[in-house]
């Protein structure tokens, strides 16, 4: 009973309803939407954004932001292909991707946590810097199918009981991160920091260290996500991941992770990502011109923020004798 009321009040539920509404609404108008292919298209298409949205949640709940993830994922997707084509074994290649991501995350984290620079500006800068290095390293080359490690190729094409492996990877990451964010003390601190940074400092939370490591984790996961991107597209160029960071943040916000910090879960972020992907396909199925997709995304973001504001003002306030 208590669990049920908790579920009803959760921030994720309205997004979930929106998801169902779009699905059945579109399917009603165009029964072809009710096919397994569509579901699979959604799952496959959402994998990359889902992974990045999970990682982005770490920094968003602290009331920070990481705009560098699009550059990082594009760069590591390229590097995985590039190194692999030079004959390095997969484990080395993936480690390199992880390290690149972690290094960018460490720079972001250091500048934000210890030098107290605003994360919006810091990660905007590293977004450009990483993209610049990427261009220099790539020198206009592109990664083609023959460069992609076989294992990644296989992952991108195959399914486990009909569910694309890439989507399963995203779901596993979400479940692990979801557990950590709920049950590990250090991760709880991220919510405290985002909710009231000054008070967090006063109760003895090592704020700087937490901020640093959260950026590090976001960077590392985004780096590793390059493998997912390469597996999905079988190619990479200097345009890979361009603008992706904004799609990721949109997914998080739509899923109830507030920019104001302190609230939201990785589950919400993933549901938000699925919703955006679903809408993309629904627009096609309904015969609406594709360019409406972006406008719909924008409206969704505003709706999400509006709902959030509504929920937070509707929250019960206590008075004189403190009723529950």
């Amino acid at each position: 009973m208590k669990k049920l009321s908790k579920l009803i009040r959760s921030r994720e539920l309205p997004v979930f309803f929106a998801l169902a509404l779009v699905y059945f609404g579109t399917g009603f108008a165009n029964p072809q939407f009710f096919t397994v292919t569509v579901v699979n298209d959604i799952f496959l298409g959402v994998a990359i954004v889902a992974v990045l949205a999970v990682a982005q949640t770490f920094v968003l709940v602290m009331r920070h932001i990481d705009l560098s993830v699009g550059s990082v994922i594009g760069f590591t997707a390229f590097m995985i292909g590039d190194l692999s084509s030079q004959g390095y074994p997969l484990i080395v290649v993936l480690s390199a991707a992880l390290l690149i991501g972690a290094a960018v995350g460490a720079v972001n984290g250091y500048l934000v946590a210890y030098l107290r620079l605003p994360s919006l500006v810091v990660t905007l800068a590293t977004m450009y810097v990483v993209r610049g290095i990427f261009n220099e390293v790539a020198k206009g080359q592109t990664i083609v199918e023959s460069d992609v490690p076989e294992e990644l190729n296989w992952l991108g094409l195959n399914r486990f009981f009909g569910v694309p492996y890439l989507f399963i990877i995203g779901i596993i990451l979400m479940l692990v991160a979801g557990f950590v964010m709920y049950r590990v003390r250090a991760a709880r601190d991220l919510y405290a920091i985002g909710s009231n940074a000054a008070a967090a400092e006063l109760v003895g939370i090592p704020v700087n260290r937490r901020v640093f490591f959260a950026f590090l984790a976001t960077g590392a996961i985004s780096g590793l996500a390059g493998a997912v991107m390469l597996a999905r597209f079988n190619s990479a160029s200097t345009n890979s991941g361009l603008g992706l960071e904004l799609v990721v943040i949109a997914a998080c916000v739509v899923g109830g992770v507030t920019i104001a910090g302190g609230a939201g879960t990785v589950y919400g972020a993933v549901i938000g990502a699925i919703l955006l992907q679903e809408i993309l396909l629904a627009i096609g199925a309904l015969g609406i011109p594709q360019f409406w997709q972006l406008a719909v995304n924008g409206i969704l973001i505003i709706a999400a923020i509006g709902l959030d504001r509504y929920l937070s003002t509707r929250v019960k306030s206590t008075s004189i004798m403190g009723n529950k």
């Binding site: 405290a192 909710s195 008070a199 003895g204 302190g262 929250v315 004189i320």
Partner: protein
């Protein structure tokens, strides 16, 4: 409380200076387990500094603090808490997005096998709320909690760390009377559990209702400690004031002229109500009262920064528009705000820019500001005000607090106001500059300026004002003439120790 026991806390001869200001100079405090101890003193007597020393925010320069027979280790709030001292601030800062249970245990969440144990945490928090006799659900989020309930959560937090000393810094200032009652029963509850509670309040009736002993501070030092049963309100007030009104504030007699400002039945919901007074040419009217009694809100409403809800304001017999600072300025009112750094000055800009900003219209031609004129204005006023500076091009943030205040005064004097409103004209200013500021005000008043002065410093109000309006909880309790105003009377009226006629 039993005084045969060892005291839980003993502070001896604590001293602390900030820059040139001696905030603590020989403060003593002894606390026993199971007592509620009142800490009293005027604004600036050193209470806050003392509390912050115990909370681990400030380190004392000299003196000793012994807690539970051991030397109290100073350094951080965390350290103070680990040693068993908890502070409940007037407005607690909880984490609005976290549940009450997590708020109680934040930073040290209960865990099982390395993972946060939510169930245990909620049960434990719920038990603490029950122990305090309060109905709060540990599972709800802190957003939307009333201030009274937020304080309860902080007290539960203090209990959960087994705090032996719980300091409440003016906890009742923002509470309704029902909430105050509940807080009292919680405090008595803590006392039963052998905690030592320090209670800071300006309301003497509360002190007598709740506390067993009282310590009075003045000028950074402890004046005395006594059982509440040995003492009465008059004695406490004497101890708090304890000094002659010094000659530092030489208001020169000035000839009173026509009524400049007339305030009729002014009221603002939740802030103040039924405010009536007049200010004449050549007169200084002081607004005295505790912080939060509505003093600043009244002058802000008169100047039009905030809107008032009832009543009216007349300047020279003409009704003044409500809620428009620019109209108030045009009509000849000048306003020197309480917080000069935030509201009074553009800190990174030069003295001349800051001084001339109020008269830009007069100085500009075809929308262009004439820098030379700006400088002239600044230099004229700089001389009049005996401003100490190297160049009028210097940024005001480089000036001392006293000189900054002179720039603020200068910029308003430049408009040739008929009525000047000053809120805390000498806060944080050294004694020498202080008397210069007072002399300046005095001179201007002799030339026919009318002044409303808000001040928390009793000697300043008493020394400078022709008449004093005493405020208490949003109402004017009395208007005293200069000759009738004594420190004891003003404090008694401001704290409600006697009821106004």
């Amino acid at each position: 409380m039993s005084f045969s026991q060892q005291p839980i806390l003993e502070m001896r001869k604590a001293a602390k200076a900030f820059g040139g200001v001696q905030a603590l100079a020989g403060a003593d405090l002894t606390l026993y387990p199971g007592e509620i101890h009142a800490l009293l003193g005027e604004n600036g007597a050193g209470k806050s500094t003392l509390l912050k020393a115990l909370a681990g925010v400030h380190k004392i320069d000299s003196g000793s603090i012994v807690l539970n027979g051991k030397n109290f280790e100073q350094g951080s709030t965390r350290l103070a808490r680990d040693q068993g001292i908890a502070v409940i601030y007037q407005e607690p800062s909880l984490f609005p997005d976290l549940t009450l249970a997590e708020n109680v245990f934040v930073g040290r969440q209960l865990s099982k096998a390395g993972f946060v144990d939510w169930k245990a945490m909620e049960e434990e928090a719920q038990k603490l709320f029950a122990q305090l006799g309060v109905q709060l659900s540990a599972g709800r989020r802190a957003r939307g909690l009333s201030i009274a309930d937020q304080q309860i959560v902080e007290i539960a937090k203090a209990l959960s760390i087994n705090a032996q000393v719980i300091i409440m810094d003016e906890p009742t200032a923002a509470l309704s009377s029902k909430e105050v009652e509940r807080l009292f029963s919680v405090a008595r509850n803590l006392k039963e559990q052998n905690c030592s509670v320090v209670f800071v309040s300006h309301r003497l009736d509360e002190v007598f209702a709740l506390c067993q002993r009282v310590t009075v501070m003045r000028d950074g030092a402890t004046v005395g400690t006594d059982l509440i049963s040995n003492i009465d309100e008059n004695k406490i007030i004497k101890m708090m004031v304890g000094r002659e009104v010094s000659e530092l504030f030489p208001k020169q007699p000035a000839e009173l002229g026509d009524v400049v400002l007339k305030v009729e039945n002014l009221g603002q919901a939740g802030q103040f109500t039924g405010i009536n007074f007049e200010v004449r040419k050549g007169e200084i009217v002081g607004l005295a009262g505790l912080v939060g009694s509505g003093r600043s809100e009244i002058v802000r409403a008169i100047f039009g920064i905030d809107k008032y809800d009832t009543g009216s304001v007349f300047l020279n017999g003409k009704s003044l528009a409500r809620g428009s600072a620019s109209k108030a300025m045009d009509a000849g009112i000048a306003f020197v705000p309480e917080d000069r750094r935030q509201q009074g000055l553009l800190m990174p800009y030069s003295i001349s820019t800051n001084t001339a900003i109020t008269v830009l219209k007069k100085l500009s031609r075809a929308f262009l500001i004439r820098a030379k004129k700006e400088k002239e204005v600044a230099i004229t006023w700089g001389q009049t005000l005996q401003l100490k500076y190297t160049s009028v091009e210097d940024a005001v943030e480089k000036l001392s607090g006293g000189n900054q205040q002179k720039v603020v005064l200068g910029k308003w004097f430049a408009t040739n106001p008929e009525l000047l409103i000053v809120d805390e004209p000498t806060r944080g200013i050294d004694v020498g500059t202080k008397s210069e500021v007072h002399k300046l005000l005095s001179q201007k008043v002799q030339q026919g300026l009318a002044v409303i002065m808000v001040s928390s410093e009793l000697p300043e109000v008493l020394g400078m004002s022709d008449r004093i309006i005493v405020m208490r909880e949003g109402r004017q309790t009395a208007i005293l003439n200069r000759e009738d105003a004594t420190p004891e009377k003003v404090i008694a009226l401001a704290t409600g120790a006697v009821s106004a006629k």
